[in-house]
């Protein structure tokens, strides 16, 4: 057990070091992600100005901006740039062999690499994030009560795990198709409409409004933001967290199964 923990720790450290190699590209990429925030704030301001009334589906302009900023934060946890396409590249180029030959678990390794990736990202992005939130503090209703805050943090961690295992599962599909970019495009399209990162899901008409509750997408952007803003409370909040946990567990199992089947196929068909 100790040996295993030491292995994990070493992988984590090495992954952090690797992330820091391309510091220029990394810093630029991190900063550029803040540009869309500004444009979105302008966009929604314009939408509200032309709508005339102060409310859209129960959202005020301040609500929308606060919501949008919070989904940004949730997506900083749940989005996994390059995860599935990275697995596909490793399969195509045969680097995946390493995980068949060496005593190292592919999913565990990918998870640690991703945690390292996120840790480095957060530590660079924390400053700019804090600045943006400080400038925009007037849009927020204020700090939520402690128990909501705890639920919010929990939902962020679950959003990270859900994003990871969902996208890793899609990466494993490359054992069959070699190229997963069109699959990823479909996934992005779904995320676009159903995760709530372009607009609050309240805007969706029924039955979509109900359907998205049971899809995994909403738990990667909308849900944490809604928890923070107090839009889901009580039993609804508990149910939400339960569905989110169920999706995480489901994808953990699915990811491992597809990996195993993928390895079998890989070793059966060519290597």
């Amino acid at each position: 057990m100790l040996a295993r923990a030491e292995t994990w720790w070493t992988i984590l450290k090495i992954c952090v070091e690797e992330r820091l190699v391309y510091r220029g590209d990394f810093a630029l990429g991190t900063l550029m992600r803040f540009l869309p925030i500004v444009t979105q704030i302008f966009l929604w301001t314009a939408v509200f100005a032309s709508a005339g009334s102060g409310l859209i589906k129960g959202f005020t302009r301040n609500d929308i901006v606060a919501y949008y900023l919070l989904t940004m934060l949730a997506r900083a946890f749940s989005s996994m740039p390059g995860l599935a396409s990275g697995i596909a590249r490793q399969v195509r180029e045969g680097e995946i062999k390493k995980f068949l030959v060496q005593p190292i678990d592919l999913i565990g390794y990918l998870l640690l690499a991703r945690i390292a990736h996120k840790v480095v990202y957060y530590s660079v992005a924390a400053g700019p994030f804090a600045l943006v939130y400080y400038i925009c503090r007037s849009y927020f209703p204020g700090w939520p009560p402690t128990e909501v805050m705890v639920a919010f943090l929990l939902s962020l961690v679950l959003a990270f795990l859900l994003g990871f295992f969902l996208e890793a599962t899609m990466g494993m599909i490359s054992f069959w198709f070699l190229e997963v970019s069109s699959l990823l495009f479909v996934y992005m399209l779904f995320t676009f409409f159903f995760s709530g990162h372009m607009f609050p899901l309240e805007i969706l008409p029924e039955p979509w409004r109900t359907i998205v509750d049971f899809l995994p997408f909403k738990y990667m952007a909308y849900f944490p933001a809604a928890v923070f803003l107090g839009k889901v409370q009580g039993t609804e909040l508990v149910h939400g967290l339960m569905i989110q946990t169920a999706w995480v567990l489901g994808f953990i199992v699915l990811c491992r199964m597809t990996m195993q089947a993928g390895f079998n196929r890989y070793s059966g068909y060519g290597g």
Binding site: E6, T10, I14, V21, P103, Y266, S267
Partner: protein
């Protein structure tokens, strides 16, 4: 004790058969024809603990497929194999901690980080005791003379240096069995020589079992006492390197140096003329006729020097490979190739090497 036991091991791939042209591509969307390609056809092989065995064979002969089977990267279509008592394709960690596979570059090392980091990772995943790790690493780096490069990102190393780092990474956990796929490919002569020297020393010191595939006959000649030739997925020869010439070459090379520049014009009657650079000539003569040709040459011409040699190993093997490819096109089996080449058996002249 046998480190490796292979019985009737088979591997065939299903490949998509596509005809040329756009129409065929469109048809391929709906209906695909597949063809079975047998990469390894029911081979048997035993390798003892501490043997250094070379796999020779033309491209596509099944050498790399065999190494992949034995390292568990692929699973077989049929047959059995045991390495150190384990079935490789079950990929048990107990087995994975006892062997290493070096296949091309960029396989074990982290491209953007210094090799030292990859070594540390190996220390952990192979559960090597720290003291032992440091000792082994320093020893390997010393032998391969790469100690000063440990801190440099791998992508900035030369091809030869990277190969040495790959080897170091593979040997850190002191594997009992090592599979090497073309370890010197693309390296210059000096780097090739260094790697050969290292492998030879290391293998003799540690008595580990090594299976190596290579295209460079020099690798094989320098390292392996035992050679297994694979062609068309079957083993057609298993024995010593020198034995290949005895078994498969029907010729000797006769070099003649004529005195006073009196070069006869009818050399072709003795054998195939390979080269004439006056006053020297090289002929290829059937083994069975060599003594007869020699005495006839000596009787008819004045010579300053004469020598009889075996043809170069590369040529014998190249001939054997192209021969086996032709034979198999005509439907002959490896068994027939094995036996059919025995026509020179019993010839008593030994080469003057």
């Amino acid at each position: 004790m046998n480190a490796i036991e292979i019985r009737q091991l088979q591997k065939s791939y299903r490949v998509y058969q596509k005809n040329e042209g756009l129409m065929a591509s469109v048809r391929g969307l709906f209906h695909r024809e597949y063809r079975e390609v047998a990469a390894v056809k029911a081979i048997d092989l035993d390798v003892e603990q501490g043997e250094f065995v070379a796999f020779l064979g033309p491209n596509g002969a099944g050498k790399t497929t065999t190494l992949k089977l034995l390292s568990g990267v692929i699973s077989p279509t049929g047959g059995e194999a045991r390495v150190l008592g384990h079935v490789p394709w079950l990929r048990e960690n107990d087995y994975r901690r006892r062997f290493a596979l070096v296949m091309g570059q960029k396989n074990q090392l982290w491209w953007d980080l210094p090799a030292q980091e990859s070594f540390t990772l190996h220390e952990k995943i192979y559960r090597i005791e720290h003291d032992k790790f440091v000792r082994t690493r320093d020893e390997l780096c010393d032998l391969l003379n790469v100690g000063h490069l440990l801190g440099r990102p791998v992508r900035e190393l030369s091809l030869g240096e990277r190969m040495k780092m790959e080897l170091t990474a593979a040997l850190l956990h002191s594997p009992d069995v090592l599979f090497l796929d073309e370890p010197t490919i693309g390296l210059d002569v000096i780097a090739q020589h260094n790697i050969q020297k290292f492998l030879k020393f290391y293998q003799q010191e540690r008595k580990i079992t090594i299976l190596l595939t290579s295209h460079y006959m020099k690798d094989v000649a320098a390292l392996c006492k035992r050679v297994v030739i694979i062609a068309q997925g079957e083993i057609i020869y298993d024995g010593s390197l020198a034995g290949i010439i005895d078994k498969f070459s029907g010729h000797k090379i006769l070099s003649l140096l004529f005195s006073d520049g009196r070069m006869p014009s009818d050399l072709a009657r003795y054998g195939d003329v390979l080269e004439i650079v006056e006053p020297k000539a090289r002929l290829r003569v059937d083994r069975g006729k060599i003594s007869q040709v020699l005495s006839s040459v000596l009787a008819n011409h004045t010579l300053e020097d004469i020598s009889v040699e075996d043809p170069p190993l590369e040529e014998v093997i190249a001939e054997l490979f192209s021969h086996s490819a032709e034979e198999s096109e005509r439907g002959k089996t490896a068994e027939e190739i094995r036996n059919g080449e025995m026509r020179t058996a019993g010839v008593s002249e030994r080469s003057n090497k």
